[in-house]
């Protein structure tokens, strides 16, 4: 069975721990999670390894999550990778900007398994295809 390769970019160690945990608690899907501590690391990891899914904290040092998203969407080879933005504030301007930049989904921190599931369902067909790959879990 082929696991879904996820890149999680999050600068805060505790938030990273909690998000990884929420992802691990998802049922019926096997994930391979790589983490990055800032936007720069995230961009390197994405262009090198082309993950199936990218989770981005909106506020990070060096390069913010919104900036990573902007660059992904400007890159013809990377723009099709679905993204889930993470933020501990429900500030509508952040969410609006993220959607305007073309994110596929948005999850409010602290991420729980339930919240993550809801956020991933927003990916629609794409997520369905990822988790129901012939070799994947049902």
């Amino acid at each position: 069975m082929t696991p879904v390769r996820v890149l999680l970019a999050e600068d805060n160690e505790d938030h990273r721990f909690l998000t990884v945990r929420a992802l691990s608690d998802l049922e019926g899907v096997e994930l391979e999670i790589e983490t990055a501590a800032d936007g720069e690391e995230a961009l390197d990891a994405i262009s090198e390894r082309r993950p199936d899914l990218v989770l981005l904290d909106i506020r990070m040092p060096k390069v913010s999550g919104l900036e990573v998203l902007r660059r992904l969407k400007a890159d013809p080879e990377l723009r099709s990778i679905p993204t889930v933005m993470l933020s501990s504030s429900d500030r509508s301007e952040d969410i609006t900007e993220a959607y305007e930049l073309g994110t596929s989904s948005y999850v409010t921190k602290p991420a729980t398994a339930a919240g993550m599931k809801k956020g991933l369902r927003q990916l629609g067909e794409y997520w369905g295809r990822l988790v129901s790959l012939p070799s994947g879990a049902s």
């Binding site: 600068d11 505790d14 938030h15 506020r59 990070m60 040092p61 390069v63 501990s88 921190k109 602290p110």
Partner: protein
Amino acid sequence: MTFDVVTSDGAVRADGQLAARVASVLVVDDDVDHRELISRRLTSVGMRVTPVATADEALAALGGVDLVLLDYKLGGRDGLEVLGQIRSLPAPPAVIMVTGMGSEQVVIACMRAGASDYVVKDSGYLRNLPTVVERAWRHHDLERRARELERLALLVTSAPDRDGALHEIVAGALRLLAADECEVQLAEEAGARAVAGEVSLELRVPITLPETGRLGDLVVRRRSGGPFTDEETRLGSTFASFAAIAIAKLRQLELERSLVAELQHTLDMRRQLVAGVSHELRTPLTAISGFAQTILNHWDRIAEADRKDMIARIRANAAELGALVEQLLDFASVEAGRLRVDVGVIDLEPEAREAVADLAPVLADRTIVIDVPTGLTARADAGILRRLLTNLLTNAAKYTPQSAAIAVRAVTVDDSERVRMEVADTGDGLSSEELERVFEPFWRAEATRNSRRGTGIGLALVRDYARLMGGEAGVDSAPGEGATFWFTLPR
């Protein structure tokens, strides 16, 4: 620097010279004999005369004319109507009505319509004509100057910028004083510009304000012509007063503008504080809430060691929140001048060790070197000194990679009267702009600005703390060479 030197061109100078003497007269009379006689009489005293016979010719020849001698009866056309047409021009010349004997009553209507004077063609009228023309011209010119001064006064009190207002004053003085050059020399902008060419006559009038005294001079120069008359000197003083009013008014405006800008800055700072602080408060809160929720939901499925780890993380985040709130309260107290300082003698070496030990989670894998002489003491408030060191260490950690080294040092300075403590990092260092601004509240280095991390008050507080304890704080750094933040304390 001297500014606003306006050297008049030919046109302006010609115009200016008219201020002294009438030069160009238009004689309008359909009687060829009178036309000839009047023209000859005025030419004999040096006036330039253009004789014409009809109203239409007169209206076509008005350009550059100072004064019109207008016959009341022009081939059946009403002189009053022609006068009206002339007076309705934008800058009309002076008009003297010329009437035949016995029609004096019409002159009243003409004077009401704007004529400067009238002449009755009696037996001796030619003899006095030059005097009448000169007088009418002076009267007309006086009115013209008054209007010009009035226009300038309005302009000066409403001009939005100083140089614009002074430029108008200089141009006005050039016109009304028949000058070749005019400039405003302000004391604050020393060094007068050398004047090109030979200047024969100079009028220098001080520009003064009651509250600040002499601001500079208004200088008017002529290359030729007679000396400045008393009247012209008075006029010069009026222009100098205008300049003083303009400068005072614009100083007031500048003051108001800077007050508005300061207010705006304060409001911006408040907005940044709210934005920065909310995010800083939310980060540990999010972690606390996440760990608590995870423990609650999965109590049985989490190993005891993991549960303990999560609770320890909750405690660490709560401590971070507490420190943040403390920092905000300090900032508010310092702003209000109410931060209490309780100074005692502090042993610096153990103090440095404890500060570093307390920050172990923040400093992570960084190598910390503590180089503080054993037994070295300073006079400081224990709580404030700890917060000061904590802020500097946290700052060093925030701007350096995990592998970086941080040194905490202390030495005596000023003949052992003071202690200088340093927190030196091996990070990217600061640019000269950053060096200047790093202690400003809410200012943050370029690298972190977009990510909006931090409250932006940590380093501002470092300086406040040091000063409150009788010391000073600063930073030495260059790009690529790390940064050394220091503060001094009395011993």
